[in-house]
């Protein structure tokens, strides 16, 4: 037996290592948003009245709705990962699509929320906003930066979900190549494919010395190893999505509720 073929079958597969890598990435996200939260805390400390007034101008109802939407999307994402671990791909895809739709719903709310504010002339650098007290300018600057950056993470999450969907529905292609020295004994003969009853499905040309190789491509259902590696992708996308949820868990009370 050729050892090359055996080694080719060995896959580098380390789900725990993959999860550690994802967590390390999430820590960089934590520090990114942590810095912004720190900035928020300092300016809140400096301009409490302005912050409270500006916060009271935000739409608490939309904020609460978006919190519920994002928490629910976190649930459906966790359920999708759970379904992958139980080998129910269809259920996992169902929960994945649900998560995607909830994420889209979050962004639609955000669109109306930002749209209403911008309609009233409240956006960074606007003439209207520049006439407000300094604390309010800072509040809205942080509001647009932090919810904007968070919204960007939601968009990235949706793109990641799109890739997950693609990887999960993609049919696998497996190619097996026969090298020329395997063909040597077959010279002058034909290759034939038959089904289990011996009926011919397909027959090749006569093999001459013109033919330098044969490649067999197997198309079909996703094999087990593909399923396992897709599960890792689901896990890591899930970790990312839950972090996006956690960030919103802090953003919601700090921006929407401090004035109540």
């Amino acid at each position: 037996m050729d050892h090359g073929a055996e080694f080719a079958l060995e896959k580098h597969f380390d789900p725990i290592g993959a999860r550690i890598g994802m967590w390390l990435f999430l820590f960089t996200e934590l520090l990114l948003f942590g810095g912004l939260f720190l900035l928020y805390a300092i300016y809140l400390n400096k301009h409490p009245e302005d912050f409270h007034y500006a916060s009271s101008q935000l739409n608490q109802f939309i904020g609460a709705m978006n919190t519920i939407i994002l928490l629910t999307s976190s649930l459906t994402m966790a359920l999708a990962v759970g379904a992958m671990h139980r080998h129910s791909r269809k259920l996992a895809l169902f929960f994945l699509i649900l998560t995607f739709l909830l994420a889209a719903g979050f962004l639609v709310n955000k669109y109306f929320e930002w749209g209403a504010k911008i309609h009233h002339g409240i956006y960074p650098g606007s003439e209207e906003l520049l006439q407000h007290p300094q604390g309010e300018i800072l509040f809205y600057g942080l509001y647009y930066t932090m919810t904007g950056l968070h919204g960007l993470h939601v968009v990235v999450g949706m793109v990641v979900m799109g890739f997950l969907f693609y990887f999960s529905v993609k049919k696998s292609h497996k190619a097996v190549s026969l090298q020329p020295h395997f063909l040597q004994p077959l010279l002058g003969k034909k290759l034939k494919l038959t089904d289990s009853k011996g009926t011919k499905i397909w027959e090749s040309e006569e093999i001459s010395d013109q033919i330098s190789g044969v490649e067999v491509i197997l198309k079909g259902k996703q094999p087990e190893d593909k399923f396992a590696s897709n599960t890792v992708k689901f896990e890591n996308a899930g970790l990312y999505w839950h972090l996006v949820d956690i960030i919103w868990i802090f953003l919601f009370p700090l921006f929407y509720l401090i004035a109540m």
Binding site: G35, L38, L71, I258
Partner: protein, 96 residues
């Protein structure tokens, strides 16, 4: 490929739903507490509840509870680092 892979601890779908319900309840609590007009305590209450919600998300949704101790320790180090950054900055601005 004979290396034994550590078994992934499966959680029931029901557990996830329970955690989700708890998160919704805590969101309701956040809104209620914010309405009590507690002044300066309000912000700490909000952060405390948000911290508790995050712990639930990390432990269950993010599976941290069932991961190897390494994961938990990494999270502690990251949060500790953030706490130092926040703590030192606040000591700076408070005693300026």
């Amino acid at each position: 490929m004979e290396k034994p892979q550590e078994k992934y601890q499966l959680m029931g779908y029901g557990t996830y739903v329970m955690i989700w319900l708890a998160l919704l309840l805590l969101t309701g609590l956040t809104v209620t507490v914010a309405g009590l007009n507690l002044k300066n305590v309000a912000i700490f209450a909000a952060i405390l509840i948000a911290g508790f919600k995050s712990t639930l998300v990390m432990n269950y949704f993010m599976h941290l509870k069932y991961e190897a101790p390494l994961f938990r320790n990494m999270v502690y180090i990251a949060i500790f680092t953030l706490a130092i950054i926040i703590g030192l900055t606040f000591t700076d601005i408070s005693f300026r």
